[in-house]
Amino acid sequence: MCGIVGLFLKNPRLQPQLGALTAQMLKTMTERGPDSAGFAVYGGAQHGQSKITVRGLEESQRKDFEAGVLAVSQKATFVFRDDHAIITCSDEAEPAVRAFVEGFGHGVVFVSSGDSIELYKGVGLPEDVAARFGLSEMTGTHAIGHTRMATESAVTTAGAHPFSTGPDQCLVHNGSLSNHNTLRRQLVRDGLSFETENDSEVAAGYLSWRLSKGERLDEALTASLSDLDGFYTFVVGTRDGFAVLRDPVACKPAVMAETEDYVAFASEYRAFAGLPGIEKATVFEPEPQRVYHWEHAA
């Protein structure tokens, strides 16, 4: 089953409420995915600075971890939220920090990096996961969230969505892919690596692989229509916006709402009920096989 939500703010005045609105949307999708949840929040991009999200960091390890990062990037700053940490460092230092994170061990996992992405996920009821990370207080330009009812792989934090496989990129998926093993082998041959056995991670990897070859997001998504087999509604986040795609059969639900202030996506209308001005929004279902794309001017 699974639930997906997305919120893209057109009106900057809503940015302080991004986290609160997303948390509320995520909670309403609990019945569609009660076993784990995750969300990516985009915002706070600063010129020349990269943000890296890591997870699996216990409080007792924070000191060692911090010292290790500072050894490769003296000006790095840290925000700790539950077992996740957001490191902000210079773009130049990003590869060294990432290498440190990946070599740190003790269950610490690199999650995402980019100019503006922060990505959190965990096992448990969506409301509890959101509270653990303080989603309601987060601000930003757009956010994507997912509530998971596992089908193709285990209920673990690693199996929770979103999946990030490229800079500022993330993907959430409702559905199940049938050719993910074949595609994963092809992508691994092309140099990609995967953290899980999850089908959705393969979809994310596939899109990142296309984007890394210089394709635009809409081109990569269009190509996925012929290369991915199975059921899917995807929402893909990038630094400046998000995109939506449904497979040709379109049995996985999707509904969108647009006002002058925002574009919202959800698996069901219920997720929109608390959005400001929703009674005047244009509410519609995205058509199958059509790429919908919203972007902030860079």
């Binding site: 379109a250 279902e285 199958p288």
Partner: protein
């Protein structure tokens, strides 16, 4: 008659879907009802058997007015998947758009959708009449067995795939016809049925003559008498 004119309200900010449905399904329920703050909740006003007038004042979620008998249900906003599924009689009127599988397996009554309907509108319909003022998505009328589907806009891919019977009327374009669905000549009987349905749905701006009629070519396996011996 005075009781039927009294306005009866159930507010889902203070009540629950379970209370709503058990109240409207009760043998004592009569007259007109308004449901406030539906907010996309599922299974609103389902399984009604009395000739009630029910207004859902906003957006409905999954299976709104499902299994309806005799009640007239108006949804002031959009409806989620499976609106009026398995309706037996009465009417359901969606003033916005409907999601996928509107009127699925419905055996009777009238479903009117003022906006568009999503994929698989009228899937496996068994006698219902469905009138869509806008367009319908792919695989509408899939395995339709009986009834009428009227589409004032366009139809998506594979219209009427594997249909048994049922009349399909489309005014706009049909992206493609499904297996064993073909265009048929509009007979006087078809035209009379279509005119009645448009009138019942309150559609006056599209003349019945501007529609085309589709139906079963009856060429699939189950229509071939030679296969009868297989049973």
């Amino acid at each position: 008659m005075s009781a039927t004119l009294e306005k009866q309200v159930i507010d889902l900010h203070t009540s629950t879907v379970r209370v709503l449905n058990s109240t409207l399904q009760s043998e004592d329920a009569t007259g007109a009802w308004t449901i406030l703050h539906p907010e996309g909740r599922h299974s609103l006003a389902v399984g009604l058997t009395a000739p009630l007038d029910v207004t859902i004042d906003g957006q409905a979620g999954y299976y709104a007015a499902g299994m309806n008998q005799r009640a007239n249900v108006v949804i002031k906003g959009n409806a989620g998947p499976g609106v009026a599924e398995n309706m037996m009689s009465g009417s359901v009127h969606v003033e916005g758009n409907a999601s996928m599988a509107a009127g699925a397996t419905a055996q009777g009554g009238l479903l009117v959708i003022d906006g568009d309907a999503g994929a698989r509108c009228g899937i496996s319909m068994k006698g219902v009449s469905i009138v869509v003022r806008g367009s319908v998505g792919h695989m509408s009328g899939f395995m339709a067995q009986s009834g009428n589907l009227v589409v004032c806009g366009d139809a998506g891919e594979a219209l009427g795939d594997s249909l048994y019977e049922a009349r399909l009327f489309v005014r706009g374009t049909v992206k493609s016809l499904g297996a064993d669905c073909e265009e048929k000549k509009m007979t006087d009987e078809d035209l009379a049925i279509l005119k009645d349905l448009l009138k019942e749905a309150g559609i006056t701006d599209y003349p019945a003559e501007s529609f085309r009629r589709y139906g079963s070519a009856r060429r699939l396996y189950n229509f071939n008498v030679d296969n009868a011996s297989a049973y």
